[in-house]
Symmetry: C2
Subunit: 336 residues, 2 copies
């Protein structure tokens, strides 16, 4: 049974398995270095829909349907859905999952939403509140650009520190089962503000949150970096990854060789013009479901940390001169 | 230990108490019929802040601080916070609770957020994941008008079916304790779409969700309306309350005399120009924390349902011609 170790870290003892998972991405993500690992790659970003927002919702539907199919589930095998996204009032999820007619918890952790929703879904599985629960999230470059920056046809110039919102969705279906990957524990994020006010440098704004959560997880579980094969953050990009490295160096811990960032893994920054790397709820969600979970399932990774990161600002708060608070939710995943 | 009865209804058996609770409201809410019951009534809506958004965040801080104080807690007695609000990217909560440095789950259920956050906090209490968790939400008339409709100084005319966003916040601190009110169970909402496309008639859009959740709760717990002293919805307003009544009449159930709506309780519609009633996350939250919970604690109400309702649209989805999906999360509260 789940128990709180300390300060936001919950240990799960119920044999919680990420039984099934699905990923659906846009063309550009499919053209990237992880292209071969995604379940569905769209020919474009529209999916034949009238609006970018409808397309984003459809990516969520695809990821959910793929995860259901891969697990030989029907929709009604799912007891609870935990979902959220970056769109105002989380409409990507509300419209995407409207027709499921399943008990629905809306969650919001900006680009950390996959880790937040998976934490709660895993807890429900650990407590046997239903057999299976689903965690779903998405982002879409065009709906995000329109909402947070400029309509894409405006052709605004991007700064080198800016990140590229991934057109992608991921879905995990979790339940008690003797099948890796397993969710061993999670550490819930705290809102952390480093005083960064530049909305084009969200990686730096989120690095402090990732550092806080990863460090708390080490302390609360009495583990060190040496106990893990890898630590995946998402999505710090290049600037945030450099900051995270520096923060750990102050503790005399070198994360080099162990740390990878989903925002840096999704695209080929030499060939694809994504500046500091990828971002968006769908970025870490698709890298988790397309790359990390399969590697654990095959035994190529044994024990990893997945620390998704989110920037909790809005266009209004940035225009009002507020700094950008970050949050990072973490899960420990293993093959046994 | 918590168990899933059926179809989204979770029974709590751990003696979960709403140990402490606080409410903070604006002047207009203080002038309403429930004015005497709130813990803090502001002289205006600004709270001396530079922006409406900062004022909304400050209302959350006040509600949290009041709930802490009333329970003789210090901040670090709280193991997890569950919070959300109507502002884009839930910034009311992110900035309001930024300085708590506590593990934080962002949730989004539009105006049903109080019930959603309280469901999850109660579950954590039932599982003894920490001693106490907090559920917090807020809304602010001026920040909501600017975001969803027009800046208030524009002086736009409101339709008769429109609702008035409450300037208010509520906070519940839950834990295992032998002290009423108790949380006995919750039923998680499903996204329900009645095809309503008028963003000035959200009550009608949400009534179907309230009907679905309340009816499921009756079926899953094998209870009827007769088993409860009252069913509180929030915030259907007049139009939505009439629709809910009609929906139950089709099942030959008369909810009259048992049903009250937080949106109709908060204001005096004869004297206060709120059209169809109040709304906003803070509406049902402040009525819960100011009125319902104290009545249960005093034994004036023994067993009630609190079914908060939310409309899951955004301005973008409405402009794109989408209908408005609703959701309603429900808690069963009792004095023993």
């Amino acid at each position: 049974m789940a128990r709180l170790l300390c300060d936001g870290t919950v240990e799960l003892n119920g044999g919680v398995s990420v039984y099934s998972y699905g990923s659906a991405v846009g063309k550009m993500e499919g053209d990237g270095p992880l292209g071969a690992c995604f379940d569905y790659i769209a020919k474009g970003a529209e999916l034949g829909k009238e609006t970018w927002e409808q397309a984003e919702s459809t990516f969520q539907q695809y990821a959910f349907e793929i995860a259901l199919k891969k697990g030989s589930f029907i929709k009604d095998d799912i007891s609870f859905i935990f979902a959220g996204d970056l769109l105002n009032q989380c409409t990507g999820s509300a419209y995407g999952l409207r027709d499921t007619s399943l008990p629905f918890f809306g969650v919001y952790g900006a680009c950390s939403t996959m880790a937040e929703s998976l934490s709660l879904a895993s807890l429900f599985a650990d407590m046997r509140l239903g057999e299976y629960s689903a965690a779903i999230t998405s982002s879409h470059f065009c709906s995000a650009e329109r909402q947070f920056r400029f309509p894409i046809n405006y052709g605004g110039v991007r700064t080198p520190t800016a990140q590229w919102t991934a057109t992608a969705s991921g879905c995990c279906i979790v339940g008690a089962a003797d099948k890796p990957p397993f969710v061993k524990s999670f550490t819930t994020g705290k809102i952390t503000d480093m005083g960064v006010k530049d909305a084009n440098n969200m990686g730096a704004a989120m690095a402090g949150a990732a550092y806080d959560t990863i460090k708390r997880h080490f302390i609360n579980t009495k583990t060190t970096l040496a106990d893990y094969d890898a630590v995946f953050t998402g999505d710090l990009g290049q600037v945030g990854s450099d900051t995270l490295k520096e923060l750990f160096e102050r503790d005399n811990i070198s994360i080099e060789g162990k740390h990878e960032d989903c925002g840096l893994m999704l695209y080929d920054r030499e060939k694809q013009d994504v500046h500091a790397g990828g971002s968006g709820c769908g970025c870490s969600a698709s890298v988790l479901c397309g790359h990390i979970l399969p590697m654990i399932e095959k035994g190529e990774l044994h024990r990893v940390l997945f620390a998704a990161t989110g920037a909790l600002m809005s266009t209004t708060s940035v225009q009002q001169g507020e700094s950008i608070p970050g949050i990072s939710h973490l899960l420990e995943l293993s093959d046994n």
